[in-house]
Each structure stands twice: as structure tokens, then as C-alpha cells.
């Protein structure tokens, strides 16, 4: 049931003046009390609907905060959830500060979790990721956006060895990190000591294109790794782990990028030939047909050199193909062989493994 009574309430308020607004305040508390204490599920459902519908005034928000701070457990939880549902307080820094202070001061973990839920998509939620209660930490992980401000607490949580559920959520969020933040994230990694597995898991979750450009294709290590032996060592370790993470499970975007660049740029193909071969040989079987199609598009009207370079990848890819994709690959190779005797010989050698 959808009930939006804000407009109607506005009309009513205009008609009845301030007294009406004052009369609504006790209603909020009564609903909270009744909802927390009633044993009738239908009554509770109705009251929850009411609480969803009411839009608390500034005074109502203060009352809700008071209930959170000093009410009974059930009332405090409901009040925290109502505060998280109606969030006009988000519009002012003071409102956000009050919400954070409430969450910091509350003792009941379920109430803290509800208050942290109210901070969703706000940077302030990130400070609760390392909370000792798993429900609070989980809610904080769900609520925190990935930004320059939240990266540090997110990494601190991952480094500290949080629960698998919270780790899953954070790694999933990091997978969608904006590419521009990856360099900053890597700079933050130097701040703490990371175990090999934790670092590998982190790299496996980061956007592959950014990792490739930063660690594999770039000639410029991070500033902290230059002129510092310990930093240089850490950088090399990161390069090794990042490369390994990329090659282990290369995604479609990375493979397509590698193929495109290798076709266009001979120097790139030479520099990253081994990396591309390893990546292609471990490509997901489901990506095979898509990659063959991509290679076909790349070689449309292309020079023999480009075709020869990409033929190597196509032959490597053959182990990861099945069904119609195999036929498509063979027909593509046959088509290329017909271009020239030289190309035919090169492809034949590749097929025989003597290229």
C-alpha cells in the first residue's frame, strides 16, 4: 500500500496552523510504544505502515533521538529504524553528526546497526566497519560508499581480518571502485602490513584494467617506492601479486584490451606477449566465443603483421573454446591462411606449436 500524505499534511498544516503540528508529536511516540509492545502482528504491521508514512518534523526527529538514547530496547530499535527511513536530517552536517554520535553512544548492537543503516551512502558509515559486533560491521560495510574518505577504513577492516561476510561485501564494493581511485588505494596499502593472501584477495577484486595499467603496463612505480629499498620491495611484491591475480582470472574487458593493443602496437605485443598468452590460456570458457568474435572484428581489413600477431592469441585461445566457437576459430584461421603463403606458413607453425 502506498500512502503519501505529505502534500495533504501540508495543506492541513496551512489550514490548522502550528497547533496541529504539535498534536502530531505525541502520535509518533504512541505509535512507537504501541508498535514495540503490541503482541498483535496485524496491529504492528499497521503501526509500521503508519511510522513509514509519517514525516517527522524537527521536533519529531529530536524525540526519536531521545528514544534511541534513553528508550527501551524495542522502542530504541524502532526509533533508530524510523530515523533511518526518514532522513531529512541528512541535509545538515549537524544532523549527520548527531546520527553518528547516537551510533557511537548506543550500547545495543541492533540499535547501532539500525543507526548505521541510516547513514547509508554516507562516508561517516565507514568508521563502523571495524566495529566489534558483526551485525554493525556488516551494516557499515553495506552502508559505506567507496570514496577517498572511506578507502582508509575499508582497507583497515580488510587488513584487520574481518568476518567473511563483511569481507565479501567490501571486496564486492571495491570491485566497482572508480578507476581514478585505484592509484590512491594502492598508495594507502603502504600504510599497513598486508599478508600475501589478503593482498592477493584484494587485487583479485579490484578493476582489472586499472591494475593492469598501474602494475603491468606502467613504467612508473608509486612515489613511495622510489628511492626507498623497503618501498621498492613492497612495490615489486605488489606487481607480482597483481600480475598473478590478473592472469589467474582475466576478465573480458582486460582480454579485449590486450588483444586490441597487441594487434595495434607491435611493441606492446612484444612487451606483454607472455602475459597475454598466460591470460588467454586461463580465460573463462564462456568468454571464448566473444573473444573469437572480437579478434575477427580486429582483423577485418588488417595488415598481415597484425593478423599474424593475433593468430598466436587465437591459437592459444583454442584450448578454451568449445562448440560453435571452435568452428568459428577454424574458419577464421583458414580465411587468414588464404591471404598469403607467408601467413599460411606462420599460422601452420603456430598450430603445430613451433611458432
Amino acid at each position: 500500500m502506498v500512502m503519501d500524505i505529505r502534500d495533504l499534511r501540508d495543506e492541513e498544516a496551512e489550514l490548522d496552523g502550528v497547533e496541529e503540528a504539535e498534536e502530531q508529536t505525541p502520535g509518533l511516540l504512541e505509535w512507537l510504544d504501541a508498535c514495540a509492545t503490541t503482541s498483535d502482528p496485524s496491529e504492528r504491521a499497521r503501526l509500521i505502515t503508519q511510522l513509514r508514512l509519517c514525516v517527522p518534523s524537527e521536533e519529531g526527529l529530536s524525540l526519536l533521538r531521545e528514544v534511541v538514547a534513553s528508550g527501551g530496547r524495542a522502542q530504541a530499535l524502532l526509533a533508530a529504524q524510523v530515523l533511518g527511513h526518514h532522513r531529512p536530517w541528512l541535509s545538515t552536517p549537524a544532523g549527520v553528526r548527531q546520527q553518528v554520535a547516537l551510533a557511537q553512544g548506543a550500547s545495543d548492537p541492533s540499535v547501532v546497526a539500525a543507526l548505521v543503516w541510516g547513514l547509508r551512502q554516507r562516508d561517516e558509515a565507514a568508521e563502523f566497519i571495524v566495529h566489534s559486533d558483526s551485525a554493525v560491521a556488516r551494516e557499515a560495510a553495506l552502508a559505506a560508499p567507496v570514496s577517498r574518505r572511506t578507502l582508509s577504513p575499508i582497507l583497515a577492516g580488510l587488513r584487520a581480518g574481518i568476518r567473511p561476510e563483511v569481507e565479501r561485501i567490501l571486496l564486492h564494493k571495491l570491485h566497482q571502485i572508480h578507476p581514478s581511485l585505484v592509484r590512491y588505494l594502492v598508495d594507502l596499502l603502504v600504510e599497513g602490513s598486508w599478508g600475501e593472501e589478503a593482498l592477493r584477495g584484494l587485487f583479485a577484486s579490484l578493476p582489472q584494467m586499472s591494475l593492469f595499467e598501474l602494475f603491468v603496463d606502467s613504467h612508473h612505480p608509486a612515489s613511495w617506492a622510489v628511492g626507498d629499498a623497503e618501498g621498492a620491495l613492497l612495490w615489486q611484491r605488489m606487481v607480482r601479486l597483481a600480475s598473478s591475480a590478473l592472469v589467474d582470472r582475466p576478465g573480458s574487458e582486460l582480454l579485449r584490451h590486450l588483444l586490441s593493443r597487441s594487434g595495434d602496437d607491435e611493441a606492446f605485443a612484444r612487451r606483454h606477449g607472455a602475459f597475454l598468452r598466460d591470460a588467454v590460456r586461463r580465460a573463462d570458457v564462456d568468454l571464448g566465443a566473444d573473444l573469437v568474435g572480437h579478434v575477427e572484428r580486429l582483423t577485418f581489413g588488417a595488415s598481415e603483421d597484425k593478423v599474424a600477431r593475433l593468430a598466436q592469441s587465437l591459437v592459444d585461445l583454442s584450448a578454451r573454446l568449445d562448440g560453435a566457437a571452435v568452428d568459428k576459430m577454424h574458419s577464421l584461421l583458414e580465411e587468414w591462411k588464404r591471404r598469403s603463403a607467408d601467413l599460411k606458413l606462420k599460422i601452420y607453425h603456430l598450430e603445430q606449436g613451433i611458432g
Binding site: M3, S42, R44, R46, L51, R52, G84
Partner: protein, 272 residues
């Protein structure tokens, strides 16, 4: 909300699903029962529950069909409290006044009500009597032979009389029906005036159009605006190392355009 309360609602929810709840459905539902104010969209729910998005969509559809969840706007879903309450309300509504004591409503307003173009009812707070025009009963699918406040309450899924302090409000009874409730005092009547309207289908069209537009903008933002920004930066300061990315950006834009059949058929060849 205490654990016992949660289990009550969970029991009720499970009974609504006729025992056919899958583990995944229960997992989704338990999140809503833990926090009845949750209004996550599919993406957020997938992250919250650890269920893949493509698996979650049919689960949510099943819960929506069962009436346990409802749209919270902007692709979000929220617990349908009214639906959870409705079956019990239907079973448990006890008339506050004995049926024998109900004073038949004075027919003073009947001619006026019948002359009105919409479905209108007057619900008297003092004796719970009802005066309504035929269209009101017809639109709500109620019997007009026995006007009864309790019957209306059951139909609307809530005790309308007890909402007097919260009026005015609007109840969306079904997708295409809404009931507006307002306090009303006139002559010898003191109670609630309820008007039922069939929601104009153009509203649904507008809603769908807004949704399509939002989706389109989101897609254009991701697939065109982002790559175009990159291309602009690239063209202002070209780097050889970013040539591949620039090509990929053009491919993304082209793929998006071809999705909407906006590019020339020859474009793909030229890009390739």
C-alpha cells in the same frame, strides 16, 4: 522489535507463502523482517543477501506476487505491512459495536451522494454507520445491500475509524484504485469522508515513461558520457599508452548506440 515479534511476522509471512518459501526467499524476507523499513533496490539487496542479481530478480518477483513486498519507488522494494496484516485483520476484526446496535444511517445525504460523479462514502464515527453511493461499493467490489464500516475496513486492509487522528491520507487499494480519507463535519454528520478513484491510466504511463527515461539516462551516463569524458581528456592530451582505452571507449559508445539502433550500419566495420 523483539525477536518474538519478528518470528510472529515471519510465521505469518511463511503462511502467506503457503509453505512454498525457498531458502533464498526466506533469506530475503528475513532482512525485511529484521528491518521493516528497509527499501533496498535489487543491487543493494543482492549485496546484502549474497544472492546473485539474476537469481534475486525472480525471488523478488515471487515475493511481490505473494504480496509480501511492494515497490518502494526508484526500483526499491519494501515490506508490504498491509498485506501481512490483512489476512489476520480479515479474521480478527471484531465490530466495536454490536451489529444489533448499529443505528441505520439517516438517509439525508443519499441524494447528494448519488449525484456525485465519483465513489463517495460517509463513515460516521459515532455509530460506525455508513452512507455511500452505489459507485463507491461498485469500485471497491462491495455489496451495497449491507453497508457496513467493518466490511469497508476489511476491504481497505485497515481500521479506517481508528485513523481519524492521522487524516487526511490516501490509501492505494490496488494498482488502479486509491481511496482518499478526510475528516468531515457537516450538519448532523461527524466522521470521515472517503472518496474512491480509479487511477487514471495515464499516470501509470507517465510512471513507466519516467522509469524508462531514468534507465536510459543511467545507461547513457555509464556507456556514453563516461567514455566521452575519457575521449575528451584523451584528445586534449593524447598519450600513446591510452590509445587502447580510447578505442575501447569508442567501442562502448558504439555498442550503446547500436543497442538503440542509432549508429550507421557501416560504423561497426569502420571501428573494426
Amino acid at each position: 522489535m523483539g525477536a518474538d515479534h519478528i518470528s510472529d511476522i515471519a510465521d505469518n509471512a511463511s503462511s502467506l507463502l503457503h509453505g512454498a518459501t525457498s531458502g533464498a526467499q526466506q533469506r530475503v524476507l528475513s532482512e525485511y523482517i529484521k528491518n521493516p523499513f528497509l527499501d533496498d533496490d535489487v543491487q543493494a539487496l543482492a549485496l546484502r543477501t549474497g544472492i546473485a542479481r539474476q537469481e534475486l530478480a525472480p525471488i523478488l518477483a515471487g515475493l511481490r506476487d505473494a504480496g509480501l513486498l511492494q515497490s518502494a519507488g526508484r526500483r526499491g522494494h519494501m515490506l508490504n505491512g498491509e498485506q501481512l496484516a490483512a489476512p489476520m485483520l480479515a479474521q480478527e476484526v471484531v465490530p466495536l459495536v454490536d451489529a444489533g446496535d448499529v443505528v441505520p444511517a439517516a438517509p439525508a445525504w443519499a441524494p447528494l451522494l448519488e449525484a456525485l460523479p465519483g465513489g463517495v462514502a460517509l463513515l460516521d464515527l459515532r455509530d460506525r454507520s455508513v452512507q455511500a453511493n452505489a459507485l463507491f461499493y461498485k469500485l471497491l467490489g462491495l455489496s451495497s445491500n449491507a453497508p457496513d464500516a467493518d466490511e469497508i475496513c476489511v476491504r481497505l486492509g485497515c481500521d479506517v475509524m481508528s485513523l481519524i487522528d492521522d487524516l487526511p491520507l490516501v490509501l492505494a487499494v490496488e494498482n488502479d484504485l486509491e481511496v482518499q480519507l478526510r475528516p468531515c463535519q457537516m450538519a448532523n454528520f461527524d466522521g470521515i469522508i472517503a472518496t474512491v478513484n480509479s487511477v487514471d491510466p495515464t499516470w501509470e504511463f507517465s510512471k513507466a515513461q519516467v522509469q524508462i527515461q531514468e534507465d536510459l539516462y543511467a545507461q547513457l551516463r555509464d556507456e556514453v558520457a563516461g567514455p566521452a569524458d575519457f575521449l575528451q581528456a584523451f584528445l586534449e592530451k593524447p598519450k600513446k599508452s591510452e590509445l587502447g582505452q580510447a578505442r575501447a571507449a569508442i567501442e562502448r559508445i558504439n555498442a550503446c548506440l547500436s543497442l538503440f539502433l542509432l549508429n550507421n550500419p557501416s560504423d561497426e566495420d569502420s571501428v573494426a
